[in-house]
Amino acid sequence: MSRNLISGNSLPLRKYCDILSGFLIAGGAVFYLGSSFLGLIPLASGAALYLFIIFYFEGREKGAGAVKKHMSRLAVPVIGIVSAVFFGAIIMLLTGYDPVRSYAALFYGGFVKNWYVSVLNATPLIFTGLSIAFAFKAGLFNIGAEGQYYIGAMAGAWLGLTLDLSPLLSIMLIYIGGSFIASLWNFIPALLKVKTGAHEVITTMMFAHIARYLSPIFIRAFGGDPATSSHAYVTYEIPQSNWLLSFRAFIPDANYRLHTGILIAVATAFFVNYMLNNSKTGFEIRAVGFNRDAARVQGISIGKNIFIAMMAAGALAGMAGITQVLGLDHKLFENLQAGYGWNGISVALLASNHPIGVIFTSLLWGALDAGGQYMARTTNTPNSIVEIIKGIMLFLIVAKYIYIYAVKFIKKKRRGGNA
């Protein structure tokens, strides 16, 4: 009773503290993603404040419980990352490369020196990762996200070249129109899935191949570089008013290529998370993905939800392409091996399809890529080792049974030792 009274009295205070900590965390994150490391200070203090709020308002036990919950959630990824690094070191030693120097370069390059590259790498990955995670939630495997990426990029370039309204309005229209077109790219696979049961792995992948080969045709139609030859391999540049805001606009020493697409990506991740957990559609989609028969019994339309999930997945992957065009390249060129769709599968799986988790796994993947380049340049270690480390890491993080077995094994041994 008394507890209720106290918390009743301090409710406004708690609200203010919550808002403050949220503000600090969000602001810090914006600056940190804008490659200003000073952003870490508000980020860390916001996190500390958040912890303090829990301890202060909810009591020690609850606070400790919350900390423990977060720690245990992080335990497996941390162990996975550390062991992957360890195995990578063994491979390097066996093949004659210096692991200490290589790792120093990998981490320095990925998280400090070229952090902005990591962020740039992560931006499209967040979108494609979300796309694949979203489809997985409905029990679908959107293996063709790569194709929706191309379509999004083409639609973004087309609208970017044609729309000329006030900057904010036209960017919003490009996102809406572009992601709509990209979601239409999944229309036929969705329709076939619902009507004939054609497996989405086949259809989306075939559509991905088609999209990839359509992009050169599109580029030739919307470009041309008369100086070199009349054969176009890039489209014309989209007008500057349609570019995404650069971080440089408010962080003077940010790299000039770094654009605010990452913020859109993060916001989208939070939106998707909210939608999945708090809306009726989200609930139905998860129900369909979890157990189709049970969902049907509950009166949930399987077809409708599969349809929605496929279209949403297409739109999300398309947003990756739009962001890349509006933010980074400002034009579309023949990108022979984009690979964002394939890497999106990795980041989604690594995050166990959790939308917020996708943000972090994408950043990790982006940092490993950027760091791998730095490592290859400054030491002579080939960056294909990074691919191997990534594979091991993914394996060790998602294979949770390894840990169950390990714990069992240790317990058994202990018991054996005692007896």
Partner: protein, 320 residues
């Protein structure tokens, strides 16, 4: 009036090309069929193929004997696929996840080893002798018009793929082990209750799929060509996945679907040569993919995967 001379392309050579193009897809799809029949989803064919192709080329290069290369490619595929078996069966990892990991790993491993073995990335040095030299015509049968040159005047791995289509169809349907494999994918619990280890059957099925995909890789690097190139599988493993699904999870169906894709691909090359339609050539390249979608949409009957396909099987009930 359009120019109909291009119709002269519809000849025996087109069918021979169809078989050549479809062989790697057939082999990988056959492997995937066995694997999925046992209830293990396998999307790692692309990765297993590239591993098989690499080790086949390395062995053929250093020993000078393509047959040893063939053996090495198949063995490498089998061993590599065991990672998938351990991950999905013993460690209860999601099958799609494990497959995706294997695909990523395979490209990293081959690129890393390329530099170690050949001193440069990209493409390996040419092997001294390759399986394409061992093309032989079956006496009498090869004289049959059309079917003769298509089916009875081929290179070794193509013959093996024909044999495997027949053998696996029979094996899955009529042998005890085949029955067990199918049971592992449909009613694993029932299988366990009659005293057969579901784990062992699943391990076997995954291993067979690895051998077949390794063989598909070897076909690319030491029979169809004389060197290994990074990324030379170029999505064929995923096409095989499509072939298996549209083939209705059966050996013969996979083979026919692979042939269909091979035919569409062989046809698009010929349409390009004749420039029948004056459109960008990318549209020709798209043709086999579009044809597959149309086939899946309209022609292929609704088929269903094994009931327990991709479902984790745990004997002692444990939740995460």
């Amino acid at each position: 009036m359009p120019d109909w001379t291009f119709l002269m392309f519809l000849n025996t050579d087109l069918l021979v090309a169809t078989v050549r193009l479809s062989t790697p897809i057939t082999l990988a799809a056959l492997g995937a069929t066995v694997c999925e029949k046992a209830g293990v989803v396998n999307i790692a064919m692309e990765g297993i193929m590239i591993i098989g192709a690499f080790f086949a080329a390395v062995t053929a290069f250093y020993t000078g004997n393509p047959w040893l290369g063939l053996a090495a490619g198949v063995a490498a595929g089998g061993i590599y696929s065991l990672i998938h078996a351990v991950a999905t069966i013993s460690l209860h990892l999601d099958h799609v996840v494990s497959g995706a990991v294997l695909n990523i790993l395979a490209f990293g491993i081959t690129r890393y080893l390329m530099v170690l073995f050949f001193g440069h990335p990209g493409t390996s040095d040419a092997i001294p002798s390759f399986l394409g030299d061992y093309q032989f015509a079956v006496p009498f049968l090869s004289k049959i018009p059309v079917l003769g040159p298509v089916f009875f005047n081929q290179t070794p791995i193509i013959y093996i793929s024909f044999f495997l289509v027949i053998f696996l169809s029979w094996f899955l349907k009529y042998t005890k082990t085949g029955l067990h494999i199918r049971a592992a994918g449909e009613h694993p619990l029932a299988l366990e209750t009659i005293g057969v280890s579901v784990y062992r059957i699943k391990y076997l099925a995954v291993f067979i799929s690895g051998l077949a995909s390794g063989l598909a890789g070897a076909y690319l690097s030491i029979e169809n060509n004389v060197s290994f190139t990074e990324g030379m599988t170029n999505g064929k493993g995923f096409i095989a996945l499509a072939a298996m699904i549209s083939g209705g999870w059966s050996a013969l169906g996979s083979f026919l679907s692979a042939l269909f894709f091979g035919f569409a691909d062989a046809l698009q090359v010929r349409l390009q040569i004749f420039r029948v339609f004056h459109v960008p050539e990318e549209l020709f390249i798209i043709f086999p993919y579009a044809a597959t979608i149309i086939a899946v949409a309209g022609l292929v009957k609704r088929s269903r995967p094994p009931k327990a396909d991709g479902v984790d099987f745990i004997i002692e009930k444990e939740n995460e």
